[in-house]
């Protein structure tokens, strides 16, 4: 029999997930505008793959398919993964990544609400470890590219690997600012010299910094809509900025300004959309601060001292491992326990 409360707020997992997707739209729009429509192909491919895999997984587990497909969580995973991958990567890369995200990271760990690791980041990590070459095929900003790919050309290239006649891959792709920075530093160039290269924009990368800004705005919307709290993004950004700042002060020629780190790669997407995944993140207010700060610091260390161009995914996964511990040790004081613990 039902017991009280007999009333409930109008909310659902689907509504939350839809708002998350909506918050990504401005970033995607600017992405298309500045880097071409290829990202739409990968987003669609990832979405379809995720929904198909989710349906199969839910069916195999004997759960009702409809409510679990309608919850929208698979779509969010798919979009976050697609936005983390190079937009002109081959189709199978997307499919393999989505498979690891939805089937391995999510359903093998118990499905919605039970997975330990952020599914999109597991997908990303598998791909960057297994297919490092394909993972560097980023679209060049249209303002710097020698040629533009239409939507159909992009789809053709993604699915068949065939470019329109006379077009070379070099004309449409380029290394990311983070990659460029890493390789140029290895060539003993100083930060000042490196940032004169055209791929570097005002703060981050040409074009990329605008996309990052839109993700930041989308994230602020999520905060205002009370889908996320400020703790994880703020701690993430602060952790990255302070760590980066300390390195930068110690040697400005070798360590680039912390603002650059905020404006490049997956930081804003990671801070507002990925690290805030409630299932795999810390839940207590203090825990969220530790969790976010940990991701920020690790992201910087992996980017700067590690072997991979971007560190967000590994930082998130490493901190995911810590979540149960963090939560257990950061339980807030309960009403009536604040003055003193009663003698037991």
């Amino acid at each position: 029999m039902l017991s009280s409360p007999y009333i409930a707020e109008q909310s659902s997992v689907s509504i939350i997930m839809l708002k998350v997707l909506a918050a990504l739209v401005p970033g995607i729009a600017v992405y298309v505008w500045l880097f071409g429509p290829a990202i739409l192909v990968t987003l669609t491919l990832a979405s379809v793959t995720a929904l198909v895999l989710e349906t199969i997984a839910v069916r195999l587990r004997g759960w009702p398919a409809k409510p679990f497909l309608m919850d929208g969580s698979a779509l969010v995973t798919a979009w976050l993964l697609a936005l983390s991958l190079p937009p002109i990567a081959p189709w199978w890369l997307i499919v393999v990544g989505t498979f690891f995200a939805i089937v391995v990271a999510k359903h093998l760990y118990g499905g919605l609400g039970n997975n330990l690791f952020n599914p999109a980041m597991v997908g990303y990590a598998v791909l960057i470890i297994s297919f490092p070459v394909q993972m560097t095929q980023w679209s060049a900003p249209l303002s710097l590219a020698g040629a533009h790919l239409s939507l159909l050309d992009s789809a053709q290239y993604i699915f068949t690997g065939i470019l329109p006649d006379g077009l070379k891959l070099d004309a449409i792709s380029s290394a990311t600012p983070l990659d460029t920075l890493r390789t140029q530093l290895q060539l003993e160039h100083t930060v000042r010299e490196i940032t004169r290269l055209p791929i570097f924009g005002n703060l981050g990368g040409t074009g990329g910094e605008a996309v990052v800004l839109m993700f930041l705005l989308g994230g602020l919307y999520l905060w205002l809509a009370r889908i996320i709290t400020w703790h994880i993004p703020a701690a993430f950004i602060a952790g990255l900025w302070i760590t980066g700042g300390l390195f930068h002060i110690s040697d400005p020629d070798r360590y680039i300004s912390p603002w650059f780190h905020l404006a490049t790669g997956g930081v804003m997407l990671g801070a507002f959309f990925i690290a805030t995944d409630p299932v795999t993140g810390a839940t207590t207010p203090r825990g969220k601060l530790i969790f976010g700060a940990g991701i920020g610091i690790l992201t910087y260390l992996i980017r700067t001292l590690g072997g991979y161009p971007d560190g967000v995914a590994f930082a998130v996964l490493l901190m995911n491992i810590m979540v149960p511990l963090i939560d257990a040790y950061t339980q807030p004081k309960v009403y009536g326990h604040k003055q003193k613990e009663p003698a037991e």
Partner: protein, 549 residues
């Protein structure tokens, strides 16, 4: 003057629906055809019936007397004949019966002799006993015997007296209407409380969605011969919960497992103050209260209702039953519970009868997995982590639920209200609490059995020793015809006495263990506890028999 207010964590803003029942004044419910007065009106021990079937009773006559410390008396709500003293469907969700005294009214409504109490010239403990015998218990929902709360105890005084006019639950307006219409009487009750507790300040906390009540109370306060501060508090459920209101008004937190007097605050519902006024200044016992009848009815309204009025007779006052009525809730939509039958009589705790329909209260969609979004934690006024409690309760990891302070949960329902996965969280907590109580009782029973077993072993051993000693004695007597009294006997007797004393001590300790956190429990929980206690007593009796056999 504006007082600094404090904020408690969380809370929700459900739709209020209060206007439905505030457009009509408090109606006086006519005498029902039958009155069924439960002896379990209050928290603690039920009253003991002191009338017999067939006996004529007068209005206000005591028909059940307080039994044990936490208990108050129960009175006949009108004059008439006692027709039954038997179990009857009662106001708790389990549908269990309670011992009730049924009275057939004679229609004369003839009062027993009664007069005002000269409380200023009374011994305080005598005054408190009088209030117990007048049946005064908290009308805010917990129905805790007021005379216990009106004892300033060792500290001699409770500095802050708070009248709770928060009434934060949607739909309910009985306190609102009482404050609008009987403000002066409420403060007359507060005067007695203030006198008994030696309070320095009197605060009346009212949520800002009740401007009429605030105005009425302020007008009455200005006529008062002692300072009364009517404080407007923000409307935020469960801001009218005693712990939350104390936090809002004083910034203090009632310690876990403690009482509000631990922080120098006594809180009473405005209805209790009114009842106290009737008791002290008119000598009338608590035999009626204001009940909101609202929801799926034609004419929602508040009524002054005699305790014992059957649900059906009360609901009829608001018009014919609507076809789509799907049930009756006692209390509000956040913390109330379903009444299983329309025979259930009103009790002192009945603040509202909410008539349900599927249109007004649609069933929730099926529950989805918890995504740990922590909206529940953000809404929890007890600062708990409901998502963790849910996780542990579902896994039946009850030890962990206690570590995460399950028993500080006030079951306000905010977590369930906000949950996007529509998980009935409160139900999980109620389940976990009852499992823990049951386990605790089982453990006590097991302890008792073990104790019994050990005692038996001890006895057998002792008897063997005694037999051996006797045999040895006989043998030695045979050997040395006449020997003086053995010192062994004295030693044995001393040992026996020591063992007996230790056992008594252990037993006392065991029996001294009382359930904790029972202060704000719904009646069905108390019922459950009482049953388990009864079972324990039975087991103990059986154990005793077995030992004696």
């Amino acid at each position: 003057m504006t007082r600094q207010l404090y904020e408690f964590n969380g809370g929700v803003h459900p739709e209020e629906h209060k206007h439905a029942s505030t457009s009509r004044p408090i109606g006086i419910a006519p005498l029902p055809r039958i009155l069924i007065v439960s002896l379990r009106q209050h928290i603690g021990q039920p009253a003991k019936p002191i009338v017999a079937v067939g006996e004529q009773v007068l209005k206000g006559q005591m028909i059940g007397q307080a039994e044990g410390y936490v208990s108050v008396a129960v009175h006949a709500p009108t004059s008439g004949t006692v027709t039954a003293i038997a179990g009857h469907a009662a106001a708790h969700p389990s549908g269990l019966t309670d011992l009730c005294i049924t009275i057939a009214p004679d229609g004369a409504d003839r009062w027993i002799e009664h007069s005002a109490l000269d409380y200023r010239n009374m011994d305080p403990s005598h005054l408190r006993n009088q209030l117990r015998d007048l049946g005064i218990a908290g009308l805010g929902g917990a129905v805790f015997p007021s005379f216990i709360k009106l004892n300033p105890g060792a500290t001699q005084k409770v500095p802050t007296l708070v009248l709770n006019g928060g009434e934060c639950e949607p739909w309910i307006t009985c306190d609102d209407m009482l404050m609008r219409e009987r403000a002066a009487e409420i403060l007359a009750g507060a005067a007695v409380m203030r006198y008994m507790l030696h309070s320095d300040e009197v605060l009346v906390g009212i949520e800002d969605n009740k401007p009429e009540a605030i105005a009425a109370m302020q007008a009455a306060a200005s006529q008062c011969d002692f300072p009364v501060e009517v404080v407007t508090v923000p409307t935020l459920y469960p801001g009218g919960g005693a712990k939350q209101l104390i936090k809002t008004l004083t910034g203090k937190e009632v310690p876990s497992g403690g009482r509000s007097t631990d922080v120098g605050v006594a809180t009473f519902n405005v209805g209790t103050a009114y009842a106290l006024h009737r008791a002290v200044n008119h000598g009338e016992p608590l035999i009626s209260r204001i009940v909101t009848v609202t929801g799926n009815v034609h004419r929602p309204q508040n009524f002054e209702v005699l305790i014992g009025t059957p649900l059906a007779e009360l609901v009829r006052l608001t018009g014919a039953t609507r076809d789509d009525t799907s049930g009756y809730v006692m209390g509000g939509p956040m913390m109330g519970f379903d009444l299983i039958s329309t025979d259930v009589p009103m009790v002192k705790a009945t603040n509202c009868i909410l008539v349900k329909s599927l249109a007004l209260f649609p069933p929730p969609p099926p529950a989805m997995p918890c995504i740990r979004c922590t909206r529940c934690a953000q809404a929890c006024p007890a600062d708990l982590q409901p998502q963790e409690l849910y996780w542990f309760a579902r896994a039946k990891n009850f030890g962990k639920t206690q570590e995460y302070h399950l028993f500080d949960c006030i079951e306000c329902g905010c977590c369930s209200y906000v949950c996007p996965s529509h998980i009935p969280l409160v139900q999980y907590y109620r389940y976990a609490k009852s499992e823990i109580w049951a386990k605790e009782k089982d453990k006590k029973a097991a302890d008792l059995a073990r104790e019994r077993h050990e005692f038996r072993q001890l006895r057998i051993e002792r008897e063997q020793q005694e037999r051996a000693a006797k045999l040895a004695l006989k043998a030695s007597a045979k050997l040395a015809e006449a020997s003086p009294e053995s010192p062994d006997d004295a030693a044995n007797a001393a040992k026996k006495a020591a063992i007996q004393a230790a056992l008594e001590r252990a037993k006392e300790k065991k029996e001294g263990v009382t359930p904790r956190n029972i202060e704000n429990l719904p009646p069905e929980k108390l019922q459950e506890i009482a049953e388990i206690e009864a079972r324990r007593a039975k087991i103990r009796a059986m154990a005793k028999d077995a030992v004696e056999k």
